[in-house]
Symmetry: C2
Subunit: 345 residues, 2 copies
């Protein structure tokens, strides 16, 4: 099985995608190809043995083979011919913009590249935190109260403390906790740097958080263990950055069997059928004996490999069991019948 890890992207999380991609080398035991999407959205085939974060920051990758995405896959020039980059399945590990907003999914669907990752709908519903709220509620999963504000309407009715998040980013970028009124204006300005719309939620100090990952293979969801992440107030970008390189296994959270099942049940409600084809991580809060969805990571850092007992086989089994895409047969039934009625057929 030949897997192509697609990483980088025009994204605030471009760098952590590089870290994630490199981490996968330690946990996926398969023939791996690395396809880099640079900040200009040009694709390059990076020799697997040369993969190293410095290659990208230094611009050395520019001497690697440049790729063109066309029907059927990625191609590179070899003398006077074009050669296809052969692989069985791509893994979308672009975090944030391009990777999680539906662009890469759309490109792969359009050009017929099989991939592990969220499809267009799953991307849009998880990337936009307002849509995530609507979706979670509709499938029966609780979320915290919220308000969406924009530059023309910054009125917030929720009592302090609140947490302010750009509506469409991940990885804590642009996120602030506001405990006093005087901090609000600045926190909003920071968030508006990243998005025209901002999500406001109550901030609950020391809330219990549980992370669970999983994916559906052949009709069954394979769940990861449940982790209770140890955290600061909120993970800052530097810490989160290091977090994306995680490959060491973690310990399962101490939970009753009932609580454990409840978290799995909530994960399943979110996952099916929207996220089929992706390995996602859901972060839940436990508040007064109820489970609340905090966020959906449709391309979690290093694919949340550290949460799975058997990550390598999970990836390979998923690659072999991707959701089938409908092929639409285009016929010229109506045009032909009209032409024929006009005597022009």
């Amino acid at each position: 099985m030949k897997l192509a890890i697609v990483f980088g992207g025009e994204s605030f999380e471009h760098e952590i995608s590089i870290v994630s991609a490199i981490a996968l080398k330690k946990v996926v035991f398969s023939e791996l190809l690395y396809i880099f999407c640079d900040k200009n959205r040009d694709f390059y085939l990076i020799p697997t043995e040369l993969i190293n974060s410095k290659r990208f920051s230094s611009g050395k990758y520019l001497s690697d083979a440049k790729l063109t995405l066309k029907q059927g896959g990625f191609y590179y020039k070899k003398l006077f011919k074009e050669e296809k980059v052969n692989f069985d399945c791509a893994i979308n590990i672009i975090h944030g913009g391009d990777g999680e907003d539906g662009k890469i999914a759309a490109l792969f669907d359009f050009f017929g590249v099989p991939y592990i990752g969220p499809n267009i709908e799953a991307s849009v519903l998880s990337y936009n935190k307002f849509f995530t709220k609507l979706y979670a509620k509709a499938v029966g999963v609780k979320t915290l109260d919220y308000e969406v504000v924009n530059k023309n309407n910054k009125n917030i009715s929720l009592p302090l403390p609140v947490i302010i998040k750009p509506l469409r980013l991940g990885s804590s970028i642009g996120v602030s906790v506001v405990k006093e009124q005087k901090e609000l204006e600045y926190a909003l300005d920071v968030a508006f740097e990243f998005d025209d719309e901002v999500l406001v939620e109550p901030f609950i100090e020391n809330v219990a958080e549980y992370n669970i990952a999983g994916c559906k293979i052949g009709g069954t969801i394979r769940y990861s263990i449940i982790e209770e992440p140890q955290k600061e107030l909120i993970l800052d970008f530097d810490k989160k950055y290091l977090d994306f390189s995680r490959t060491a296994k973690v310990y399962e959270a101490r939970l009753t069997e009932i609580r454990h099942e409840e978290i799995r049940k909530n994960f399943k409600l979110i996952y099916e059928p929207l996220f089929e084809g992706a390995i996602i991580r859901c972060d839940f809060f436990l508040i007064k004996n109820s489970i609340y969805l905090n966020e959906i990571n449709p391309n979690p850092g290093s694919l949340a490999n550290y949460l799975f007992e058997e990550f390598n086989s999970l990836v390979q089994d998923l690659a072999r069991n991707l959701p089938k895409r409908r092929k639409i047969a285009v016929e010229y039934k109506y045009i032909n019948s009209i032409q024929s009625a006009k005597g022009k057929a």
Copy 2:
């Protein structure tokens, strides 16, 4: 102003997209280019003077210049060089799959092609009728009751008559009205031919329907007139097909000023800010003095030109005032700081 009309696509509505594209020639007085996406999703530059539905059904277009979509736009081979197809703005007039499901929007965003049409989020929220319901409710627009069923769960609690629709298609394809229990199984089978999920809604005979189109330019929504379409039980595909070639102006529905304003208000709630950059048509029902959203057409047939007094200037003004897209600056701040801490910088 040079406009590129992009049409076709791997879509059940491929043919009506051709009809729509040809109709635009009569109502947009600008230099027009025609870019055809064939059923294999290869792009071709069709000479404007040769545009004719037969060119596509006969396969004659295969002798036109084949295009490659790359950073910055569409390119074709000219002797040993590649030439860019120059235009100011593309118009996405692919109906259904590819055009309205987010794929073309994603391709254009990714490759930097300015376009008139729904963005990725707007596409996903209007293409999937379940998401449309969630969105409409959240922005304060009423919709009919509904249920979503799939092949494993075909239980319907809504009383007959109901209308059955594939969750993700437009143009009446796969849609049936079920008045008696015995018709239900077949109607569901028809819909499942097109999608794994199916929307069920109450069917209301002779419901009053009002269509309105519009788009936002420079902070103001320009509304079309409101039409009360004359219809059969539901428009069948043949009629709808002809409907897409409409260019003759229609008469404004007779409505009180209050009702007129109410329909505009509902349109605005749906439109802002999600659909900015697109000319959309919303179809509303009037039931017991209340307005209900029936559906959002983010790429309506021939762009609903027949509803606008000044369609030509609308298109050109919109092309000059597209929403600004954020450019993300990728820097290697973290990798550089880590390299430097390791003494490798």
